[in-house]
């Protein structure tokens, strides 16, 4: 086999070649992959105050291991390296979210003990037009009445910015089940708004107004 010791940018190796050599754990190719991911991750995360050069080395190593673990899930509809970078970004972002999460319980977050969020009643907000007040009040009511307790907790935690991984851990579920719960909750809310007399067109029109503020 030809030596791969000279640097070859990721774009010059075919997908088939990446897969074949990584499945064989060719050390030169593993090293090329790690270097490639390191360069991309430096662009994505290198400007952050909470990420050091040493972190980037560790991230690239962790991401390389993860990409090799997930080789069989590569769908082949993009360059291999583009997909690998997407996997790497997810690995690193999840690590940073874990690292930066302050380990509060969902109850604490949703009780607003930090005091950072200013609770403000939707009804009676003078900045809203009558139509929009009605719409937001209907949405508020739908959250209270159309959702299960778990769905309500999930929606509130999402809106409060709790990382998905942390929500899943505290609700004792996994990422896929959590997404299904989240999707079902949004569908129920949409249905409840329709039943309260707000068509999808009404909602879109109101949102267009929101964005013009």
């Amino acid at each position: 086999m030809a030596s791969l010791s000279t640097h070859r940018p990721g774009s010059e190796r075919s997908n088939e070649e990446w897969l074949r050599t990584l499945e064989a754990r060719d050390p030169d190719v593993v090293s090329d992959l790690r270097d490639y991911l390191r360069r991309g991750l430096a662009r994505s995360f290198g400007q952050r105050d909470d990420v050091t050069d040493g972190d980037l080395d560790d991230f690239a190593q962790d991401a390389t291991v993860r990409v090799i673990d997930k080789l069989e899930t590569f769908a082949g509809n993009s360059k291999f390296t583009t997909w690998a970078m997407a996997v790497a970004v997810r690995v690193v972002l999840n690590q940073l979210r874990r690292r930066n999460w302050t380990h509060r319980s969902l109850e604490e977050v949703l009780e607003g003990s930090s005091g950072e969020l200013e609770p403000r009643s939707v009804a009676g907000d003078p900045g809203l037009g009558v139509e929009r007040q009605d719409l937001l009040a209907a949405l508020n009511e739908a959250v209270e009445n159309a959702l299960t307790e778990r769905q309500r907790t999930l929606i509130r935690a999402e809106l409060a910015g709790v990382p998905n991984e942390e929500i899943a851990r505290q609700m004792e579920t996994n990422a896929n089940a959590l997404y299904k719960l989240y999707h079902d909750a949004r569908r129920k809310l949409r249905q409840a708004l329709n039943e309260a007399g707000f068509s999808d067109e009404d909602v879109r029109a109101e949102l267009a107004g929101v964005s013009e503020e």
Binding site: R43, S78, M85, L117, P119, V122, L135, L136, L159
Partner: protein, 78 residues
Amino acid sequence: MEPTREQMKELLRLVSATRSEEFDCDQFLSNVGAFLECTGKRGDLPPELEAVRQHLEVCPACQEEFELLVQAFKDGEP
């Protein structure tokens, strides 16, 4: 505690963007590379990648990921 007005507006946006069939975050990850490569080209998004675009509208976590992925390729191949 009551959601803030900003949170309720965000929820309204999320509900409005909801579809009956959606990609989950794993399906998004499997297809986001193809989506990214398409966004750099002229022409319409292929229909099979519409679900990637829609997932970005309803999933803040994947939206954040995508913005960082774009950074990785901003000046060409890393």
